[in-house]
Symmetry: C2
Subunit: 341 residues, 2 copies
DNA sequence: TTGAAAGCGCTAACAG
DNA sequence: CTGTTAGCGCTTTCAA
């Protein structure tokens, strides 16, 4: 079917020299005469020679592949992070192999296995929402296999990671709500074992505290990171005797789902309920009202994760750097109560 | 750093047999005694042996990798197609290497080169909006290199492809507009050399024809497939002496951008201008008004593209199948003029 | 029933 | 300056 790629041997035969001579000429080894080098390089280009990465990989025991495990590729957030990872991988001559866990613990374990089988040189991962047992990652660490986490991390594991300062971000959201006269601030969180859930919850509690608002357990609801579950969670909040006057959703899926439900209940945003999410720029401005949100530096998060990865494999260091990226609260219509200002 | 993977040789040494014996035992070759086979298989599992794909690849001259070239990964449409491709690749034991062209012709050529260098066994591609010269793909075809196009295809190239019935879809949109009393129907198209632009334009013209509406060149505007350009195009339409009373955008980027601009101009959707796009389910329902749109079977499109790819490499056939997937016009609020009904 | 040897494409140490 | 050789991990004749 496909014409075989031309090999060093092909060139060597054609030129009547040995394979090693061709190999050396191609890397400008000083031992080879200029004339020969030129001649060889010229014909190599003519014949469209490119080194066989499989052979190189075998020899050097490196595949130039990075495994990337994400919960779901069909999401602006993860697609953008991947894009960031890819951009630095490309600079380094690496390519990435993506494996989706679909938020499933079992699939995540499978992904690790498959990636290992493909001999990726390391893994950059965001753990699934189901993942509670982290022995599959522990195994990697025990073998000093390069591993980097981003966004949702395992705090108990000493691994380089890139996250976002969710604590500060959520605190600033609470202050913003308070400034707009909100008193009953609800938080729709993800599964409680996830680092982002915990982290943001702390920001929520501290924010309430700083604003002199009392924590009401009814207003903190945990749900899976899916639109369906978020809708249920929102309905639950709206069915409270004392409805919240503000809702903060832990990510974009949840924020948008909450928005739909609030509207469907005939409530006005922000007049009846102010809404803030953790989302991306684009879609926040398309919805109505435009959504106040904390924007992630997603692309940068990907680049940083990749940088940490290369730190490990290049320096052969085991230094465990934790990068925490800043976020920005961008205030739009969904949270500004005109009458209060 | 990383502990070396265990090889056949390691097992052979440990057991005091030859490498070939181990190799055979692992594939249940009848020549090896049951006892030995059992013993070898047991220890292989214990030592966590997995065959080195590089070695296998070298030997069999196959990498089990499929190259995927897309214009932009940070897009629901492409992320979803990728997800479809990945799902069948996984079933077949292949993995995919993604390369984004970022809608750039130069990057697309680079992607082809890089993918070829990585020895992918074939390429599944959606051409960039800049791509007019297709010699880089022609080269692949000349070498009988497995190639499949999806969505935006090269009609002049005889290559398996998966597309959507844009002609029919757009025709039905025009009829829908007509049923809602629209008479000045505008179409914001992509670059004219793209297959999807041409195809949908034909549906537009035929639809107008069928509805007894005259084609007005002012109402057909071409623009690049970016939000910025789509905004300009929309503004251009809104600045016409006789504004359109309906706009159809060729994809989601364009439809959402148009929506923003229309609102900003203080015009009401659908009362002043009805709007329809080619979009995904989720975001269409989040915007306000909810967007009437033609939904792509994106995941399926990915699966079909992958299926065509495996058809080529498995059957060693060169049969050029063209798959055309159905779409569905889902009517929501953005196009239904109540007063007319 | 098992082992030795060659070869996939490449590099590098060792000889000339 | 250039060639020979061995070896990366594996499969597959060919021998024993």
């Amino acid at each position: 079917m496909v014409k075989r790629h031309v090999s060093l041997k092909d060139l060597a035969v054609e030129l009547g020299v040995s394979v090693s001579t061709v190999s050396r000429a191609l890397k400008n080894h000083p031992d080879i005469s200029h004339q020969l080098t030129d001649k060889i390089q010229k014909i190599a280009i003519e014949r469209n020679y490119t080194p066989n990465p499989l052979a190189m990989g075998l020899l050097k025991a490196q595949t130039k592949m990075i495994g990337v495990i994400i919960p779901d590729i069909v999401t602006h957030f993860f697609a953008s992070v991947i894009s960031g990872i890819e951009s630095v991988a490309k600079e380094k001559g690496y390519f990435i192999v993506i494996s989706s866990s679909n938020e499933s613990f079992e699939k995540e374990k499978e992904s690790v296995d498959n990636l290992l089988k493909s001999r990726v040189e390391g893994i950059i991962a965001c753990i699934s929402q189901e993942t509670n047992d982290i022995s599959h990652f522990q195994r990697l660490i025990n073998n000093e296999f390069p591993l980097v986490f981003f966004d949702r991390i395992c705090e108990v594991l000493s691994v380089p990671s890139v996250t976002v300062n969710g604590f500060e971000a959520v605190k600033s959201i609470i202050h913003h709500f308070k400034d707009n006269g909100c008193k009953r601030i609800a938080y729709i969180s993800g599964p409680s074992h996830l680092s982002i859930s915990k982290n943001r919850k702390e920001g929520y509690l501290e924010g309430l505290n700083e604003c002199g608002l009392e924590f009401n357990p009814d207003l903190l609801v945990e749900c899976n990171l899916s639109a369906a579950d978020a809708s249920l969670a929102t309905k639950q909040l709206l069915s409270l005797d004392k409805k919240p006057d503000a809702i903060f959703g832990i990510n974009d899926t949840i924020a948008f789902a909450a928005m739909k439900v609030i509207k469907k209940h005939g409530l006005k945003i922000p007049e009846d309920i102010a809404l803030v999410g953790f989302t991306d720029e684009f879609h926040s401005t398309v919805v109505e009202p435009t959504l106040t949100s904390v924007t992630h530096p997603t692309f940068l998060m990907g680049r940083e994760a990749a940088r940490l990865f290369f730190n490990i494999i290049e320096k052969e260091s085991t230094y465990h750097e934790k990068v925490i990226l800043p976020t920005e609260l961008i205030i739009r219509d969904s949270s500004v109560k005109r009458n209060v200002l």
